[in-house]
Amino acid sequence: MADDLFNSFMNGPDEQGRFGDFGGRFVSETLMPLILELEAEYERAKTDEAFWAEMDDLWKHYVGRPSPMYFAERLTEHLGGAKIYLKRDELNHTGAHKINNVLGQILLARRMGKTRIIAETGAGQHGVATATVCARFGLKCIVYMGAHDVERQAPNVFRMRLLGAEVVPVTSGRGTLKDAMNDALRDWVTNVRDTFYCIGTVAGPHPYPEMVRDFQSIIGKEAKEQLQEREGRLPDTLIAAIGGGSNAMGLFYPFLDDASVNIIGVEAGGKGVNNKMEHCASLTGGRPGVLHGNRTYLLQDDDGQILEGFSISAGLDYPGIGPEHAWLHDIGRAQYVSITDAEALEAFQLCCTTEGIIPALEPCHALAHVMKIAPTQPADHLICMNMCGRGDKDIFTVAKALGFEMGEFA
């Protein structure tokens, strides 16, 4: 399949920044010249060996890549079916996959002579990664974070401040991740000449979805090589959690043309995907619309007004999804499912006690789906799941959900 370029799933986006009907450049005129400049700079960087040499060096010595491909032996035994591997991106510097992308964007910002970096963050992982890399390169960093998230992710707010970033609590709208993104865009429109907007996921106007995917694809490239080395073959199933979808896109992309590989993205089902809309499952519970620079599946009402997502995981709490996922969904190359808060919490606990890994709530959604399908598969079925973040940031949320009073341990 990979031999026939016309049938490759890896050619997107087109010149208009589209993956099929999804993606595009739906931004105000003030931003358009900058988006075009960024696209041109990225096109130059993409084929510049020096750019990638610097990335590789930082990935290796600063982030700690490659991340391990870990055979989860006890989990495999416990579930009694498929052989389960975890791609350990939670072991990266800053504790999640986010830094893979941030490094690329900051190197681009430096090439473009931008001195002021802005970012949006939900759970705080992208904000921490951006603050970290800005500190590393001596750049001014401003992070927009919903006021509600500032409250529930206090440790990450403090981390960002320690790293020298300014954290701006966003109270406009309902004070969540999408409002943080709106305020970041407003900042960008105002400070367009010296500012670089470091977007944390595979969404936003072209070229962001492509660029972020390319930077995160290091996950899938390593996974492919590592499984080849360990098992001598491709995995049968890939599983990753999806908010905007950057860790998933990073894992999936290098495998898109490998027809034998099943690809499954797991959305946050919150309290359940039904008409009460207390979830963040844009693909399973939304419909196409235009927001934040791209056309994609969105949670919205009949009038095209955007709805708030709901999830126990602040990192998945976004009413949209990257346009490439929307396209992979529509053409059927990838399958998208949802997992509820309760199922994710169960996976969280199982992972702690069977593997000695405290996972972030985001990948727990992927793990909960592994728990569903692994027992139905034979022992020679290989599952590779992306463990995209560690759970330190979530212990307070989990304690609350499980009814523990932190004070009890004192």
């Binding site: 208009q16 595009g24 450049r25 739906f26 931004v27 105000s28 005129e29 003030t30 931003l31 358009m32 010249p33 900058l34 406009s172 709208g173 999408k178 409002d179 993104m181 709106n182 865009l185 407003r186 429109v189 105002t190 400070n191 367009v192 000449r193 619309g289 235009v290 927001l291 934040h292 620079g293 969105l298 919205q300 009949d302 009038d303 095209g304 007004q305 955007i306």
Partner: protein, 263 residues
């Protein structure tokens, strides 16, 4: 020829500058908003911009954001916004109406259906903030084919190289955003705006109207003096937010209009 084209032809013939007023449909509620919009022609407004509320107005400052939220909390929808325009048309058949907002509510309604419904309600032009020329096939070209003007924003970042692209499928008038920033932020001076307007007018015969940051009759006069007209939005919306009566809001609008018309 749309009502917009006719209005600017008439203003040009009289040697007058245009005063353009923006209010958010459904703010503070449906009935008051309808009363204000229907009163704008009588206050001296030459072109009415009716804001279409959206949950995520990413190019707007707090004033317009909050107006949109008030409208949405009061149950405002695209259909109700068109109903207000239809109501205006019962008493006014000449003042142009431009609907201004973001693409998703229109896309959700269905572009073809929207164009029919908007035309039927009496809308004359559209300003859709998140549809740059790169996305013209979405709405701009179908709208022109349906007889609606598609008005584009030009900004300080629209350089000479890009300007022809911005002007290409623009009709009605060009809206020059005088600052890089969001609505309601600080304003540019007439001295700074004048050369920018000249730069645009060198490339088009369309009227150039300037907006963003105009808050007083004097500022409206100064800015209109170096362009074909001035737009005021946030300053009017602030009066509505404060709870001013319809009569007070319209009196304030009349002062602004008089300022622009002195130019």
């Amino acid at each position: 020829m749309t009502r917009i084209d006719a209005k600017f032809a008439a203003l040009r013939a009289e040697g007058r500058k245009a005063f353009v007023a923006y209010v958010m449909a459904g703010d503070p509620d449906y009935a008051v908003s309808e009363e204000i919009i229907c009163g704008l022609p009588g206050a001296g407004v030459d072109v009415i911009e009716v804001g279409l509320p959206f949950t995520d107005p990413m190019a707007d400052g707090p004033t317009i954001q909050l107006a949109g939220q008030r409208a949405l909390e009061g149950g405002q929808t695209l259909k109700k916004t068109l109903a207000i325009v239809a109501k205006l048309r019962e008493t006014d058949t000449t003042t142009p109406v431009v609907m201004m907002g973001y693409y998703n509510p229109i896309y959700s309604h269905g572009v073809d259906k929207f164009l029919v419904d908007a035309k039927e309600a009496g809308v004359d032009g559209l300003i859709v903030v998140d549809l740059p020329p790169e996305e013209d096939s979405e709405l701009c070209i179908p709208a022109q084919a349906a007889g609606l003007n598609f008005i584009r924003l030009a900004t300080p970042t629209t350089d000479d190289k890009r300007l022809p692209k911005v002007l290409q499928n623009t009709s009605g008038f060009v809206y020059y955003v005088s600052i890089t920033g969001i609505t309601g932020a600080g304003s540019a001076s007439a001295e700074a705006v004048a050369p920018e307007v000249a730069r645009i007018k060198a490339k088009t015969d369309l009227p150039v109207i300037v907006g963003f940051g105009i808050k007083t009759p004097d500022a409206a006069e100064e800015i209109a003096g170096v362009a074909d007209g001035a737009v005021v939005g946030s300053a009017i919306v602030e009066r509505i937010a404060k709870g001013d009566s319809v009569a007070d809001v319209l009196a304030y609008v009349a002062d602004l209009a008089a300022g622009a018309h002195r130019a």
